[in-house]
Symmetry: D2
Subunit: 296 residues, 4 copies
């Protein structure tokens, strides 16, 4: 049986390996990217190129957006040309990390055109997507979620966590995940600073922690970055984006009437770093706050 | 070659499996416990029983203390009968979780008698010791550390992390570890509270986190306790002991001139729980703070 | 010389004494209030009654708004009927406590009609307005500020503090003032809680503080409320409004890239109180947070 | 009737004006100071000079200590020569700012000799003592308090606040006062930083605040220091002493099971300043923390 056609908007560091995986799995694929040169190698592998973003869609089909922020997703998807072209029964599979608010707005907008919205933000770095070893959390209309799951598995992830019908739920989960990562960074930062100033070898401490009770890539990788103070290395998640995420966490906390003092501390660390001009650092650089305050 | 004789003071939930393992490994063992009935089954396995704590020692030999707090260790070991009986070249292997300050005092006291002090606090629950799957961090005089390592491996742990000559270093490391555990509890608590109030299924969220980026027993076990709110289950680490540890962390922070706002937040949570009378809870109960503040 | 005609929208607890003062000072006055019965006693004193809010304005004249929140001010003033009736050279003297953002939007909206916007939020309770003992901070277009000052002095305040041309400046100042008040409440709350639990007579402590280094009505009045725990007395400033203000402070902090950990703590206290259902309390009730956490 | 003889130990910036006032009021006075040259001008005014600190005492008489810290007071007063010379019915009027713990220890020590301990720490700068415009809080044995009050009024203060029999109570009150001062500094610091970065004139803001709702010397003087950033001016209260006081506040909080997050924030600010080497600053310099974090 012929596989379902997929439209894909966004060929950044996440969208590109996704596209290759989908082609390799045999999905007919039409792609769009703002800068066209990224499209060419995919066309050579069999993808079709769309001239306008909405042209990736087939009526009643499925379109993936994999873009860098809320504004970019809104620009291509919160417009009537996109939704009317997808049309009744079409599915918008939104894999970008966006705010719960934007997710809700998109779902409402699409509903007026009979388009189903599925949120599926991904946990993992570009290489993990290439290896189909990332993870996705998914939420939105039930039948559309079922359509989305095999595509996510074929294109990017090793497993899918289902958070039900509420379109914004998966985005809430993604924010919770990022909050937990930032919390681990702050915790390690304070621990490493006080241990280092007390004469403890920090590398042995990190080895102990990550080989015993915290065998997590988060603790391993971010912990090493804290020891090496390589906050300005390229390729990571920029600090101002981390601040934006923490602002979204606190907005969520406010809506849910849930005081989150640790999230506030993290926002402070990130805000301080931005105010000090560390805008091109990886967000692990929030760890420099504890060191600064200790006079290092 | 005959194995070295070992004296062991303390047959609580940690000391008892340690004693069985040492006997099984062929070490001649003399034990002392305040309540004598715990001694009998070990005597049946070949251990000797001492009537007074200092009588477990052989001149120039090795004595392990595995007791519940600083005061208990000071009572048996910071006295001249103990140190003079162990005598020149004797080793005190201190496996209890005590403060860096007490460790330093013990090392100084022992030095006057030629006794070598080695700190070796253990990470892990009683069952992990029984299975020799716990971990130890070790610090103190170099030659004595080397004597201690095979005994730790035979009796309790799968690996030993060496933090050098400073007697208190291993205790600093243990405190850093407990700080990181409490930080993870607070982070999960805030995340679970805001997610739950936002309609997210908390169990699926925990599964996602611990099967992907946080595959750590800390996140799994404490996270489940937070979801189930089983803070008063027996057998864990009591909340007032957690508060005591966080006070020690902040004392360390003060000595090292290192502001630790996250440690302060954790102290607040634990202090609040104690002030509310939750003194028989497991220290995971600090997680109730975020829920209380959210009106749950 | 005949005095300038004044239009006044809003006859709440603040607007009513203002209206009486302006009439007593000889200003021709036209008033509007949503519930008309509050208008009658003023008409007996010589005021004219408008049927619609925009009808209080005379072309090129001056209109005061004294309403309870941003939405109410926007409804009557961010509309073209209001601004076109006031017209070129007309002045909107906005005395409500609103957000800097709303102030900026109003100024921009009015500018399209040639209407000048002056922000003049007031510090002081209704009785202080009646006695013309309140204070105003003022900002906006320079010539309009000069027109506004004698009217503020005649109607409500003993002095006017001038913060220049930027329309939102006076609202920023008002928020800073509220932040300082809430900070004093939290400080007294923690001090009173720890002193009380340490056996200190709290009334003597408050007397000492307010008769010596803190001879401020804020410390006196709020301090007494904390001692008496009369958080639910009528007539004050509701707790959810305090939370709204603290959210505005933190939004300002975010725009100005200024971490404000004390403002975050206050937001937490207020958010906790709202989550616990204390929505009809005076905002001094944020002080209950420290007492709750101390198990009282 | 002849006035009671007074012994005075400590002729620093606080003790010296106290001594002049007591002489001017007709009290027979014997003084001791570690560096003897400060004694001479007082001898010319009629004071007697003691060669050893305990020699200022007359049996059954009254001795004032006015020294810089706990250690200095303990050295002269927690010794048997001092207490046995004062003897049964003698009074030790302790005017230094010391910890509640030291106060309790002194009271217990003195009791063994029949000496009565009265704590009377003073609020106010040296000039206020010279003008007898400072304030005292007093606690300790009832009859001894009554003896102390007229001496305090003649020597240093305009009024005395009585906190009852518990010897340490007045020291707890003094700590609470310092906590409130530091809280006001932090609050003004955050307010001034966010207002300044938002384009508000900070001097006008300070004038507004201190002429209206905060007419307190604390807000006026410390506020001006924050605006002028003159943290390194001589003559104030050194930052490390402020940190010491905040540590005492948190120790008190711990004993009273009262979480004090604002006190923790202040400790952080002071600890950060010390770690950055600002040890010769006035403690108002804790205000630099908010400015640092805002990238100023």
């Amino acid at each position: 049986m012929a596989k379902q056609h997929i439209g894909l908007i966004g060929l950044g560091s996440m969208g590109t390996p996704l596209a290759y995986n989908l082609l390799a799995a045999g999905y007919p694929l039409t792609v769009y990217n703002r800068t066209a040169e990224k499209v060419k190698p995919l066309v050579e592998k069999g993808a079709k190129q769309a001239d306008k973003s909405e042209d990736v869609a087939q009526p009643g089909g499925l379109v993936i957006t994999m873009l860098s922020n809320d504004e970019a997703v809104k620009e291509v998807a919160m417009n009537d040309a996109f939704a009317s072209r997808l049309g009744k029964g079409g599915i918008h599979l939104s894999m970008s990390t966006i705010s719960p608010d934007t997710a809700r707005q998109l779902a409402e907008h699409h509903a007026r055109f009979g388009v189903l919205y599925v949120a599926a933000p991904v946990l993992g770095r570009p290489q993990a997507i290439a290896d189909r070893k990332a993870w996705a959390c998914v939420s939105g209309e039930a039948s559309a979620r079922e359509v989305a799951k095999p595509i996510l598995l074929a294109g990017a992830v090793q497993s899918v966590y289902d958070f039900g019908d509420e379109p914004a739920a998966a985005n809430v989960v993604k924010l919770a995940g990022n909050f937990l990562i930032a919390s681990a960074i702050e915790a390690m930062s304070e621990a490493m600073t006080v241990a280092g100033k007390s004469g403890i070898d920090r590398q042995t401490l990190l080895n102990l922690l990550t080989e015993t009770i915290f065998p997590s890539p988060i603790y391993k990788n971010y912990g090493q970055t804290i020891i090496d103070r390589t906050y300005d290395k390229p390729g990571g998640f920029r600090l101002p984006l981390g601040l934006k995420d923490m602002n979204l966490v606190l907005q969520l906390a406010s809506e849910a009437e849930t005081p989150m003092p640790l999230a506030q501390l993290l926002q402070n660390r990130l805000q301080t770093a931005v105010a000090k001009g560390r805008t091109d650092w990886d967000w692990t650089g929030l760890a420099a706050g504890a060191a600064d305050d200790a006079g290092l």
